[in-house]
Symmetry: C2
């Protein structure tokens, strides 16, 4: 994993911008931008495709040493909670997010071949639905298929 890949136009977020946003968020909210958190976010931001937790684990060094699973999962959880990354359920993998949106409804186009993920925006899929007492908290749509470069 993490090999150079030009699929999807080589799209990836810019680690610097995302880290800057993260720094800003942390100082504004009394959170700490620690080494594991920073490394995990940078790794995801550099990748244009979804990475599994153990891909991240292999990719990052914290103070020059390989981390252990809980360290990675804690950082993942932190960024998930604060909307800096998303979990792609159908891949058990994670992507960074540089969109500003409430995280209540998102839509991902997931390439089953190269695992690249594009985040799309539409109207909430709940609009047209008879919820009949169901109280929604979060909607996520995943469309699996082949990206432009893979089909």
């Amino acid at each position: 994993m993490l090999e150079k890949n030009t699929c999807c136009g080589g799209h990836s977020h810019t680690p610097k911008n995302l880290i800057a946003k993260a720094e800003e968020f942390c100082s504004a909210n009394g959170q700490r931008l620690t080494a594991p958190r920073a490394e995990v976010l940078k790794t995801l931001a550099r990748s244009h495709k979804a990475l599994g937790a153990y891909d991240i684990l292999e990719a990052v060094l914290i103070d020059g040493k390989k981390a252990k699973p809980p360290t990675i999962y804690r950082a993942i959880e932190f960024w998930l909670e604060h909307g800096f990354i998303h979990r792609i359920e159908s891949l058990n993998a994670y992507v960074s997010c540089d969109h500003d949106h409430d995280t209540a409804g998102v839509h991902f186009l997931v390439c089953e071949n190269c695992k690249c993920v594009r985040e799309a925006h539409t109207a909430s899929p709940l609009k047209a639905l008879d919820l009949d007492g169901f109280e929604p908290k979060h909607s996520q749509t995943e469309t699996v298929g082949l990206c432009k470069d893979c089909h």
Copy 2:
């Protein structure tokens, strides 16, 4: 798991109907309705909530004996392929389906408390989207929240 539960109005599919449909499907398509397949489908059909593979494993006996993981996963795969069950990605769990629909786009209302799952139908979420070369194969929306009885 599998305890009696009256949440969501005790909704569950009717194993007999679903098995009848499955029998019909198999004979029409040259597939075999073997013991593991039948038991797995019945178990899911009886449950009104999503079951993990290992919940199913604990629940079924094949010729009076506990099965092993590959047996369960093969049956799950079989029914997934043929649209008799769905995988709820956010739970790593499975539900039976007695709807007739192309499996190209489905929407689930998932209760995070009791794990009951309601299948809903709306227009495809892809309609409003600029796919820009992405070739979609399957869309699934999962809305996590609290069901009528749990909130």
